[in-house]
């Protein structure tokens, strides 16, 4: 019983960590009501054509399986999705590519996460790359999620859509499940060529009703056309270079935004990184921020940009204003302010 009291006390002690309600409400209202004025960077996709290969033929991306995002971020070169960024911003490599997607225009979020591992095997990355896409065609939206789950075998598959049944996809063993209604749609776990599994989910987007069979066919076909390591790279809104000693990119996320999908909601384009030693939880988060207004006192200018700085019980946030267009880049973590400024000095910002 004692541990239960300790747990309750721990939760109570951290109630003050909760975000400010007014700020969150204001940001939510912004997302709901503000019609997005963002440069849409749709990714044209044709049937049978390489879909989210993201990379054109000219890509010379170093895509070593098992390497860290930080390694790749420093060296990847490629020509991919156009971002409002200068050539100095290093592109980021994904560990696999999707060589087929359903017809339509796609909005994407891509992530690569290679932090740490389990206690039993700390060197084995637990998570790999992930693509989250919305493909729109003929007024219907397909939500697609494809992720590397290197820590989870096909035998350990767990479904939200119901019991799984065995399936073979392109000669590889898998388990699939489908639900005709609800957002979970079709789910498939199929063997990863190295270890663990690949997860593919295809569901109907909000307001869309796509027949189950179509979800199943799309999901299987996507799985059949995953290539490793692939040559997919993405162009972030901003980059990082020559990070301070001992600091690497442990994870990144590039979100194209979803303004065109729903004028009432949607997301702004976003790029974020998590920095640290990658053997423990990354202490520094760096990313564009389109929703929360900058707060704090003026800080030291960074690369000619004004800054705001705030220290909330040791959790420090540095806002580099107008860093990506009119959007700020935010650096935050429980680290000394000098470390935040040090990283900020190594941002690679668009012209």
């Amino acid at each position: 019983m004692e541990i239960e009291k300790l747990i309750k006390d721990t939760f109570s002690a951290h109630e003050h960590d909760a975000p400010d309600g007014d700020v969150v409400f204001a940001a939510t209202q912004q997302r709901i009501h503000r019609r997005r004025v963002v440069s849409s960077r749709p990714l044209a996709i044709a049937a049978g054509v390489v879909a989210l290969t993201l990379a054109a033929v000219a890509v010379v991306a170093l895509n070593r399986s098992g390497s860290t995002p930080g390694d790749d971020a420093q060296v990847a070169v490629g020509s991919t999705i156009k971002a409002p960024a200068g050539p100095a911003i290093p592109e980021l490599s994904m560990p696999f590519a999707l060589d087929w997607l359903p017809d339509g225009s796609a909005k994407y979020v891509v992530r690569r996460i290679n932090i740490g591992g389990t206690a039993e095997n700390p060197d084995k990355p637990v998570y790999g790359g992930e693509y989250t896409l919305s493909v729109t065609a003929d007024g219907q939206v397909l939500d697609i999620d494809v992720a590397e789950l290197r820590m989870m075998s096909v035998d350990e598959a767990a479904f939200k859509s119901g019991p799984g049944s065995p399936v073979t996809v392109d000669g590889k063993r898998g388990v699939e499940s489908s639900k005709s209604d609800g957002p979970d749609g079709y789910e498939l776990y199929v063997e990863h060529p190295e270890e663990g599994s690949m997860y593919v989910k295809v569901g109907s987007g909000i307001g869309s009703t796509v027949p189950t069979q179509q979800l199943v066919e799309a999901g299987r076909k996507i799985a059949e056309h995953i290539t490793f390591p692939g040559k997919a790279t993405v162009a972030p809104l901003f980059g990082l270079r020559d990070l301070p000693s001992g600091m690497r990119i442990c994870a990144f996320e590039v979100d194209e935004g979803s303004a065109a999908l729903d004028a009432k909601g949607g997301r702004e384009p976003n790029t974020s990184y998590e920095l640290g030693s990658c053997s423990t939880a990354p202490p520094v988060v760096v990313g564009t921020n389109n929703t929360n207004p900058p707060k704090g006192k003026p800080g030291r200018p960074v690369q000619g940009h004004k800054t705001r700085y705030v220290d909330e019980r040791g959790y420090r946030t540095l806002w580099v204003l107008d860093a990506v267009g009119s959007a700020p880049v935010v650096l935050a973590g429980r680290v000394p302010p000098s470390e935040l400024y040090d990283v900020a000095d190594h941002l690679v910002l668009p012209d």
Binding site: I7, P19, F25, T28, A281
Partner: protein, 166 residues
């Protein structure tokens, strides 16, 4: 003020505290709740007619958190080494004891953490948790058992006694 706004403003403090307990991180909690509230707005005509719209939204936040298993929040549970077995002297204060537990909670698998938060922070019964998570009560108990076993690992009897006394 619209019904939606009235509803959200009343529920928001609780939602934000709940999301903070789930994610363990302020920015992620804010993101999680924002995502849910945007969805609530889009479906407001339906949600507002629900018998318990607040439960519906708590479920949305919970599902949002659980669906992060492949994305943002996944990074945090995967990271970090388990703490070394600590002696009583390592705990200079109650604060250190709770911070150690906070770190232990951060390393729990997401579903286990959700069960722990719903049980010990939201004070829900296992039946209510099962209903919210869409699983059997036995599954809830199994998650709770595993979570408590993990959280106890490395905590000595002295530490637990200290927690009991405080």
């Amino acid at each position: 003020m619209t019904d939606y706004e009235t509803f959200v403003r009343a529920l928001l403090p609780r939602l934000l505290r709940y999301a903070t307990m789930l994610t363990g991180e302020r920015e992620q909690a804010a993101d999680l709740v924002q995502d849910a509230l945007v969805k609530v707005y889009r479906r407001w005509s339906r949600i507002s007619e629900a018998e318990y719209p607040d439960r519906y939204v708590v479920r949305m936040v919970t599902n949002g958190y659980l669906s992060w298993r492949h994305s943002r929040a996944a990074r945090l549970i995967a990271a970090g080494d388990p703490p070394d077995e600590m002696g009583p002297d390592d705990f200079a204060s109650d604060h250190a004891l709770r911070e150690d537990m906070w770190q232990r909670l951060a390393r729990l698998p997401r579903r286990q953490r959700a069960v722990v938060v719903l049980r010990y922070y939201e004070q829900l019964t296992d039946a209510e948790i099962a209903d919210l998570l869409g699983c059997a009560q036995a599954t809830v108990r199994a998650h709770a058992h595993r979570a408590l076993t993990t959280l106890r690992d490395g905590l000595t009897t002295e530490h637990l006694a200290q927690a009991k006394e405080n």
